[in-house]
């Protein structure tokens, strides 16, 4: 069982990545450029889900690669694929970038007893998109990773966990957070429908 788990995780890392990482670790700095070119475009799209401006996304991706180079010795292919590891760094870099810019706006919503059980039946994708835009970036990203990418909560927990807590604790936190986000969206959409 354990072997199968390790094998499945390890297979996510392409042979090419594995060879490049070995070369970088043995001191061939130029090889890192290959990683930048192969993972950069996907990372830009990933970061683009959190930050809105092209320039900001470029800064975040650049910082991500520099941080990845500095911590390459810490990368463990048995825990996650290289792209997931890079996404983990990019996620925290993007949030740090937003905090520096103070763009994060938390909604002062009253989460009282009158939270509707379901999303309003008349809700359209456009309305939901508009409501999602009002959420903090962390919550938007959680929805993207869970609902759009369809990733398991354990993988999302690996990306979002920064405090060094156990993955199970982070999974539990994310599960509660998803529940709160849905509540928040119901309130926003109900208000939008009322207006």
């Amino acid at each position: 069982m354990t072997f199968r788990l390790f094998a499945s995780i390890y297979s996510r890392m392409t042979n090419e990545d594995h060879i490049i990482i070995q070369r970088i670790r043995s001191g061939e700095l130029r090889e890192f450029g290959l990683l930048v070119n192969s993972h950069g475009p996907a990372l830009m799209a990933f970061v683009g889900r959190i930050v809105e401006q092209q320039e900001d996304a470029e800064d975040v991706v650049q910082n991500t690669f520099v941080a990845a180079y500095e911590h390459l010795k810490d990368y463990d292919p048995l825990r996650a694929s290289l792209s997931t590891w890079l996404q983990r760094i990019a996620y925290h870099e993007a949030l740090y970038h937003l905090r520096k810019r103070k763009r994060q706006v938390l909604l002062p919503l009253d989460m009282g007893d009158d939270v509707p059980d379901e999303l309003p039946e008349t809700t359209t994708a456009e309305q939901l998109d508009e409501a999602i835009q009002e959420l903090p970036p962390e919550d938007q990203m959680l929805l993207q990773l869970y609902y759009f990418d369809g990733r398991p909560l354990k993988e999302i927990a690996y990306i979002t966990n920064a405090s060094g807590d156990s993955l199970n604790r982070e999974v539990s936190r994310l599960s509660s957070q998803l529940h709160r986000i849905r509540q928040r969206l119901r309130i926003i959409l109900t208000r939008m429908n009322d207006e």
Binding site: L29, R30, F32, G33, V36, N37, G40, P41, L43, M44, A45, F46, V47, G48, R49, Q54, A57, E58, V61, Q62, F65, V66, Y69, E70, E118, L119, T123, A125, E126, L128, D129, I132, Q133, Q140, L143, Q144, Y147, F148, R182
Partner: protein, 125 residues
């Protein structure tokens, strides 16, 4: 929950389309490599500084441990070859005697000063 999923996907698709428009600039590799290279240079800098510091320390240590570095050694190597070892011993003895004599004078002076001070105090009283 499943209904939510069906609704969330098209809504999030729009956000993804916006994100997909962000293209990686052509010079990203160059930018990253430029930021990485100085770090590599720094990695060599510290061992180099340590090696230089260690060399200086070793030189100083050997210099101070040199038996002929007491200030009595001859000015140059040729003089050292000509000067017999017993002469060094002689010079050291003379110098030690000179320092001992100086110390004795200083102590006598201090004792005399203390005596005068005492006499002055007695006379005033």
């Amino acid at each position: 929950m499943n209904n939510d999923k069906a609704l969330f996907r098209p809504a999030l698709q729009r956000q993804n389309e916006r994100a997909a428009k962000m293209k990686m600039p052509d010079d990203m590799e160059q930018r990253v490599m430029e930021r990485i290279k100085p770090k590599r240079r720094h990695a060599w800098l510290y061992p180099a500084i340590t090696a230089v510091a260690a060399s200086i320390l070793l030189l100083l240590t050997f210099h101070t441990q040199d038996p002929e570095s007491s200030g009595l050694q001859p000015q140059n190597a040729s003089q050292a070859a000509e000067t017999p070892a017993w002469q060094y011993e002689d010079e050291r003895t003379i110098r030690n005697a000179y320092f001992a004599h100086q110390k004795e004078i200083q102590e006598k002076g201090e004792r005399l000063a203390a005596y005068i001070q005492q006499q002055i105090t007695v006379n005033i009283e």
